[in-house]
């Protein structure tokens, strides 16, 4: 495929998917191998417009931060694994977006996983729910108790008291002092 071919096919795909002009323009400013790579994922994964916009935005931001071209990001083994996997196109597109989010926010992903593991390890009964701040964007941890009878409430409160040390430790972890997942690899 030479450059005019890639550009023509990208424009055709964009027109069919009603891709907003700003994103078409963004695609066309990329180098040829990157345009080609984008076109390939758009076509082979049968991406929806929203999926394509999300992928393009994430790829562009990863490329800026890592000082690479978009086609180099698409060649990362973790990305190739998704692209070469089996399954429906849109389903693989969703997995690809998850992988790109991991590449875009690597330390957030690790810290989030680490905290989620801590929550699981507390082994709370179904009536008590701990909610971590969305995207770890604040330091507020929410604890909810749901009970239908006074006996159940009493049991849950006793359980909460017994687990208080672990819950307090979890809240303290939000200041990052334990370093969980935040180190540079």
């Amino acid at each position: 495929m030479n450059s005019p071919d890639v550009e023509r096919r990208l424009r055709r795909w964009a027109e069919a998917k009603a891709l907003p002009p700003a994103y078409v323009q963004k695609c066309l400013t990329l180098d040829e191998p990157s345009q080609k790579g984008l076109l390939q994922i758009a076509e082979s994964l049968k991406m929806h417009t929203g999926q394509f916009i999300a992928a393009l935005t994430l790829l562009d931001e990863i490329a800026i931060r890592e000082g690479r071209q978009v086609d180099e990001i698409l060649a990362y083994p973790s990305v190739r694994r998704v692209l070469n996997s089996t399954g429906s196109g849109p389903g693989r597109a969703r997995i690809l977006l998850d992988e790109l989010r991991t590449l875009r926010y690597p330390r957030l992903k690790r810290a989030g996983q680490r905290l989620a593991e801590e929550v699981s390890a507390i082994k709370l009964p179904p009536g008590i729910k701990i909610t971590l701040p969305r995207d770890l964007a604040s330091d507020e941890v929410r604890v909810e108790i749901a009970a239908r009878t006074s006996t159940e409430m009493k049991q849950l409160l006793e359980c909460l008291t017994a687990k208080s040390g672990e819950i307090v430790r979890l809240v303290a972890m939000l200041d990052g002092a334990d370093g969980g997942g935040l180190e540079v690899e």
Binding site: I64, R107, L108, A111, L136, A137, D139, L174, G176
Partner: protein
């Protein structure tokens, strides 16, 4: 001999009513002959975004408009909010916009509709407002800064305003002037005795951030060297590690930066450090990325917070604050450190204690604690 001007201008526009002002006379006499000077009846029309350009904000920075300030000069810090533990900073608006061009600067959004460099010819009127503040009759001291909507010293080679300011504050015990800058333009300061009533503060970032994001500013080491010189001339000196950008490896770079500061100035001689994480409204983020599409510092691991700003996610940000705070406290336990635009709970997590009230912190930073 004309003094060196450290930034580029295309035009100086002077409102007719300010033609004979001391400020206009000084500036017309100081700008290079290549700068076009013209006069208009209303300067307000000239600060609006120029048309026919992809970067009106950037083009606006090349047009200086000398006009009267029509509103009050003194106001509360625009960053203050009941959501945050604030420092009680008061802002004296003597200029608007900045000839330097940091990719993350909030002025890109704040002044999007009036990006021209405004300098106020009637700045002496600000002293009347300060007189009233100084004589409010309360016991506290006030910290007043000029570096919020403009860099405090960026224009000083042209205007010489710092001399008038330092001289005024040197006579007022209840007021402390803070000149906040990313320049090394300190020549005017060295000739005056501040009598302990002026702090010169530098926003500092590691060389990596300077190289990618702080366009037309002085290099970090030049800022530290300038700080040493004003310290020796009798000024207080403070540092703002703001915005802290939590890129991979930032911890080490910022700790090295602190080492460089402490190599240049004994820690006990430093008046304060402030720490503030990079924060951007969605509008600012869009504007900044449009103007600096290849800046890696603008694509960090920021997430949208409860106050509608993007910041590095909480554990990452607080960990960086804590590391730097520990290093500063190790160097000098009594050295005041505070957080900018962070909640009381963030303050508690970093310092292990509740924050001071804005009035108390302001008084402390004004040196009357």
């Amino acid at each position: 001999m004309k003094r060196k001007m450290n930034f580029e201008l295309d035009t100086v526009v002077i409102e007719e009513g300010c033609r004979a002002s001391a400020l206009a006379t000084r500036i017309v006499g100081a700008v290079p002959a290549s700068v076009h000077v013209r006069y208009v009846s209303d300067g307000r029309l000239e600060v609006r975004p120029p048309t026919g350009t992809r970067d009106p904000f950037g083009v606006g920075k090349r047009r200086m408009v000398i006009m009267p300030r029509r509103g009050p000069f003194l106001m509360g810090c625009p960053a203050s909010s009941t959501q945050f533990a604030c420092c009680g900073y008061l802002v004296l608006v003597l200029a608007s916009n900045c000839p330097m061009d940091c990719s993350y600067c909030f002025l890109q959004e704040h002044l999007a509709n009036n990006p021209g460099l405004q300098l106020y010819a009637n700045y002496h009127d600000a002293f009347n407002e300060l007189d009233r503040l100084a004589h409010t009759g309360c016991e506290r001291s006030f910290r007043v800064g000029t570096g919020e909507l403009a860099d405090s010293l960026a224009f000083d080679s042209l205007t010489g305003i710092s001399r008038d300011l330092v001289s005024y504050f040197s006579k007022h015990e209840a007021l402390m002037l803070e000149l906040k800058t990313k320049t090394d333009e300190i020549d005017n300061l060295l000739a005056i005795d501040p009598r302990g009533r002026t702090t010169v503060s530098w926003s500092l970032a590691p060389t990596r951030v300077f190289a990618t994001s702080e366009h037309r500013t002085a290099p970090p080491q030049s800022r530290i060297n300038a700080a040493r010189r004003v310290l020796d001339a009798g000024y207080k000196v403070g540092f703002h590690l703001d915005p802290l950008i939590a890129y991979p490896g930032a911890d080490q770079d910022y700790l090295e930066l602190l080492d460089n500061v402490f190599d240049g100035l004994p820690p006990r001689t430093i008046a304060f450090f402030s720490l503030g994480g990079l924060r951007m409204t969605p509008g600012l983020r869009t504007a900044a990325r449009r103007r600096f599409p290849k800046d890696p510092m603008l694509v960090g691991e920021e997430v949208l917070g409860e106050d509608g700003r993007y910041r590095a996610f909480t554990p990452l940000r607080l960990r960086l604050f804590s590391k730097l705070c520990d290093r500063i406290k190790r160097a000098c336990p009594a050295l005041p450190v505070y957080l900018c635009m962070e909640t009381a709970s963030a303050h508690h997590r970093v310092f292990g204690a509740a924050p001071l009230t804005p009035a108390a912190l302001s008084s402390r930073l004004a040196g009357n604690w």
